[in-house]
């Protein structure tokens, strides 16, 4: 299988890669890793806090993707969304099992200098989308979303932590997520 390493993939190309993954094609596995291995690892590290945990998570994500490959439907969503949702769910599951472990300070992409050449074009496009989403939020909303998404805190846990009503947290989360959604409406993503 010949897979492009640059630019966004067409739905048909995503489907071919997933078929290759299901069949155990080394080319397909490595093409997928080249595109998504680094962002998956980065998400894992920022949530779980150690290189070892992030590496284990990366392996688990690809094994889970292989196991669920037949369920991937490119007409219903992008491969990047599908893979990162798997990564996030696995990481949050692990976070909940490992309560009490200290976490590193969360570092978001707009808090570090650009690292040119580090990522594929497709990932850079996704990162731009993330920047648009984050910049659409107020500082309070950004902190709220980060605690839920990057720390795995439920609305109830946030409410108890901050001493504010649960309904208020739910409303603020919903409002923030609507902003995140609108930030990239009409944008052509990967």
């Amino acid at each position: 299988m010949q897979a492009r390493n640059d630019g966004p993939l067409l739905p048909k190309e995503e489907q071919q890669l997933m078929e290759g993954l299901l069949a155990g094609s080394d080319d397909a596995i490595r093409a997928l890793y080249a595109r998504y291995g680094r962002p998956i690892y980065s998400l894992g590290y920022r949530l779980l806090g150690t290189r070892e945990s992030a590496e284990e998570l990366t392996q688990d994500v690809f094994l889970t993707a292989w196991r669920k490959a037949a369920r991937f439907d490119p007409t219903r969503g992008r491969l990047s969304t599908w893979l990162m949702t798997i990564a996030h769910n696995l990481a949050v599951d692990r976070l909940r099992r490992e309560t009490g472990v200290s976490r590193p300070t969360l570092v978001l992409v707009d808090e570090v200098p650009d690292a040119p050449g580090l990522d594929e074009e497709a990932v850079l496009i996704e990162r731009d989308a993330a920047l648009r989403a984050l910049s659409s939020l107020t500082e309070a909303e950004r902190r709220l979303v980060a605690r839920a998404y990057f720390r795995g805190m439920t609305a109830r846990e946030i409410a108890e932590s901050d001493g504010i009503p649960l309904g208020t947290v739910k409303t603020r989360l919903r409002s923030a997520m609507i902003k995140v959604r609108k930030a990239n409406e009409g944008k052509e993503l990967v």
């Binding site: 155990g24 080394d26 596995i29 890793y33 291995g37 680094r38 962002p39 690892y41 980065s42 920022r46 992030a54 284990e56 990366t58 392996q59 690809f62 094994l63 292989w66 219903r76 969503g77 992008r78 990047s80 969304t81 990162m84 949702t85 949050v92 692990r94 099992r97 490992e98 009490g100 472990v101 969360l106 570092v107 978001l108 707009d110 808090e111 990522d119 996704e126 990162r127 989308a129 993330a130 920047l131 989403a133 984050l134 979303v145 998404y149 795995g152 805190m153 439920t154 609305a155 109830r156 739910k170 989360l173 919903r174 997520m177 609507i178 995140v180 959604r181 930030a183 990239n184 993503l189």
Partner: protein
């Protein structure tokens, strides 16, 4: 659950932080309500964008090979499997519950009597553990299971030179039901418990899998605890390492006993 209630929960659902008791009815609603499903999909896509919002890091150079190797191993294993339908993992969970009921917490008696006749009690508890494993095998051997390709690997965990305690490990490698690892730790000395949490990992030829963690407070009075986890594929993972909070090895052992679970004879 109506649409208003569901939509009130979709942000948390998309963020992956909706508690399971609230998430299950939302998922059921989404199976038949196209309007809510569309809203949920849009929020899910928006949320996934956030995953790219963390500052990028470079994984170790060998991670790609480990990922590729793990997937290829899983594919090879699948290709060797018969085409019989995979059976419900609930049946396996029932079997595990039965095994755990047999195991109990008898190691408490060992620790409570460390100074008196300890060796005899340890032997008794070891026999008891072995009996529990045999019982588990019997359950696997029942009509509900009975896949001749099911394999159970057993191992004994030994303490590092400076430590104490012990343990046992069991992995179920099955072509027809999900694989599973169970690691029992027992008799961990008081002084070592200050070094919790412990991490429990299975090691293969070129990869490592996390079985679980034993948190502070995760051991009972006798220093006993258990971790278990389901895996897609456990073939080839033949040793267990338990490390303390500093990363030092507390217990380790090899899965040396291979016990093929064969169908009962006529």
């Amino acid at each position: 659950m109506n649409c208003t209630t569901v939509r009130d929960r979709l942000a948390e659902h998309a963020l992956g932080v909706l508690p399971p008791r609230d998430g299950a009815p939302v998922d059921r609603h989404l199976t038949w309500c196209a309007a809510c499903r569309k809203e949920a999909g849009e929020l899910q896509r928006a949320t996934a964008t956030l995953a790219f919002g963390v500052a990028p890091l470079e994984p170790s150079a060998d991670v790609e090979d480990r990922v590729a190797g793990a997937v290829r191993e899983a594919v090879a294993r699948r290709d060797r499997r018969p085409t019989t339908a995979r059976r419900s993992r609930l049946t396996l969970v029932a079997a595990l519950a039965a095994m755990l009921a047999v195991l109990g917490t008898g190691w408490g008696a060992v620790m409570a009597n460390r100074a008196a006749d300890s060796d005899r009690l340890v032997q008794l508890e070891t026999l008891r553990s072995q009996s529990a494993v045999e019982r588990f095998r019997d359950l696997l051997n029942s009509a509900e299971f009975g896949d001749p390709e099911d394999e159970v690997f057993l191992g004994t965990l030994n303490p590092s030179a400076s430590g104490g305690g012990g343990g046992s490990a069991l992995t179920l490698v099955s072509p027809s039901i999900i694989d599973m690892a169970i690691v029992l730790v027992n008799g961990v000395p008081e002084e070592t418990r200050d070094l919790l949490p412990f991490t429990v990992r299975l090691r293969g030829a070129d990869s490592v899998l996390m079985v679980g963690r034993i948190e502070k407070g995760g051991l009972d009075d006798s220093g006993a605890g258990i971790v278990m986890r389901e895996f897609n594929e456990l073939a080839g993972y033949d040793s267990v390492v338990v490390r303390d909070v500093n990363g030092d090895v507390v217990l380790s052992g090899s899965m040396q006993t291979r016990a093929t679970v064969t169908s009962p004879g006529p």
